[in-house]
Chain length 351, copies 2
């Protein structure tokens, strides 16, 4: 049985006493209603197909048709890293849901995305990209040159996350961090905060830059930015000390993990949050994720699943009309949380 070559249309044709072309016509009948096949012949062929369990080879089929009903998923980091299991997952959940609805399979380009030097590259020598009809690109840090190449090519793609122009408008489904960030800054202002601190990097990724830009412009003329710590994985002890010394009454974080470390350390020092110091997180995972992980930070929820869903849908639209270049921004939902309160009037942090 192992040597039993896979059935082909020729085999079916022979069994049914017709030609290979007829078998193909029966299989794709809906098409050219012209050269119709009479019901009896049709049935005879279908009977053989049923009995043998024949299915057309998808590779040969896509070779001649040029399409696969496959969406590629390219990630600039491993899609399921142990360390950050929850980063891609929500996107993928949305992507999968949409793909299933739309009738597409998903090709995760885990291996072929690496070039000979092991770097992640979209246009690898393998050309595996072509296996998919189009592709979704995930990751906070894009390679600008590759993105430009992609934009210039006629290959259908959609980026998950807003992207600056790269030699042309980039197709994307992003989240509106600027509006959400502005809302949170306004809330802090409304509660009376005037001295702000910001901890987190400010670029170069668009998602990070947007947070920083939104923060700055919302604050402009209405509050003072008294401390900025532009580091990744900083030392909480130092951060807490510096923030306290700066007189800030509220700290904004670009990264939830930083906030967790800060919060944990500050409490251990007897600092009341938000009594003595408010904490606001710009972003963080999905709602469920946020609630589960730690305490409920005041933050906004990035609609990751929805982004994945919309991106997949947009990609499929693009397949139908390759000239289409859409850019969609989704709103983030504000999560009230419990770490933003009016500043403590006894502290000198309130002017």
């Amino acid at each position: 049985m192992s040597a039993a070559r896979r059935l082909t249309q020729r085999d079916i044709a022979q069994l049914a006493g017709v030609s290979q072309a007829t078998v193909s016509l029966v299989l794709n009948e809906a098409k050219s209603a012209e050269g119709r096949i009479p019901p009896e012949t049709r049935e005879r062929v279908l009977k053989v197909i049923r009995e043998t369990g024949y299915v057309a080879d998808p590779i040969a089929r896509s070779m001649v048709k040029g399409a696969n009903r496959i969406l590629g998923v390219f990630t600039y980091q491993p899609a399921f890293p142990i360390a950050q299991a929850d980063f891609y997952t929500p996107f993928l959940m949305g992507i999968e849901e949409a793909a299933e609805t739309l009738g597409y399979d998903l090709l995760l380009m885990t291996a072929s995305a690496r070039d000979e030097k092991g770097r992640k590259r979209i246009f690898g020598e393998s050309g595996r990209l072509r296996l998919a009809d189009g592709c979704l690109i995930l990751g906070s840090q894009f390679d600008r040159d590759e993105l430009a190449q992609l934009v210039a090519s006629d290959y259908p793609y959609v980026a998950v996350g807003r992207r600056d122009d790269a030699g042309g408008k980039v197709r994307y489904v992003g989240a509106d961090y600027i509006t959400a960030t502005t809302t949170l800054v306004d809330q802090a202002l409304a509660k009376g905060h005037r001295q702000f601190a910001f901890i987190g990097t400010t670029g170069p990724a668009e998602s990070i830059a947007d947070r920083w830009r939104g923060f700055q412009s919302a604050l402009k003329g209405k509050g003072a930015l008294v401390h900025v710590d532009d580091v990744e994985n900083g030392d909480p002890a130092r951060q807490v000390a510096e923030v306290r010394a700066s007189g800030a009454s509220v700290v904004f974080f670009a990264e939830v993990l930083e906030a967790v470390a800060f919060d944990t350390y500050a409490r251990a020092q007897g600092i009341s949050i938000p009594g003595d110091l408010s904490i606001v997180v710009l972003g963080s995972g999905t709602r469920t994720h946020t609630l589960r992980l730690h305490r409920a930070f005041t933050c906004y929820a990035i609609p990751r699943e929805e982004m994945g869903k919309r991106a997949a849908a947009m990609l499929v639209e693009t397949l139908a009309d390759p000239s289409l270049v859409q850019q969609v921004m989704l709103q983030c939902e504000i999560v009230a949380g419990e770490t933003l309160a009016p500043p403590n009037p006894t502290k000198d942090s309130l002017k």
Copy 2:
């Protein structure tokens, strides 16, 4: 540019002034060292390839070679369901890691796995299965007929999770629930427990059946099974009442979520856990997951990532030698937790 047909070897050949066959030979040179191409011709062709950025069409290539370097992933439920986000994810993390190392991409058969009636089927009419060189099958509940069909076919597959024979030995990488369960029962016995309760279904999935079998056989002759609740999503209030009435001093759960509900309700009723009643969970997610979600139940950790990794590796071995039928069982790590203590001597639950 949009109409610019993709480059083919014929184009390259023309530009380099050679034949298409020569281009192909240059690309795959390592092969038949016989009809060697002299360095100068080789260089000329490679130069054109470099300048044009040509890459071979993977579809045409796999059409003639018959292999794709793609591993299919078939799931009996959506791979990333919102509700149970963490069920497949750990497996996929392992699978992805192995696939990347081994140089394979992953094809998630989300859409093509459904037949015309919307049911999940491995052998769909689409025949998309053939797009992958082989396939990994996930899900607790397999369709026996399909599994038998798979076993009988010459299609390379590996099941993640132990599977009973289905017209032949099934290739799988499973977790040894029986041994792990036995260990936990023995621990409970060693602490003095004699009256046991069991909450959870007992089949038909192998993973569930193994827990139940292990539980029963470990208990045989050494302790009494005073209460069994064979339901999914039971009512915690009723469960707590019945367990208390039964006089059991320890409850075993087959499903962590049931344990969470039970635990939460019991504590609310003023029942001390494990003071008045011990709880043991058979299974649960990965270590990280377990620790994060709720309190630290006494349980064992299913090595999901490792299972995914090994399954992918086994599948690749199978591709090389299709006659191979391996069955691997991985050990579960016992998590001490804090919900198993000696029975309360003041209660009548201790004989």
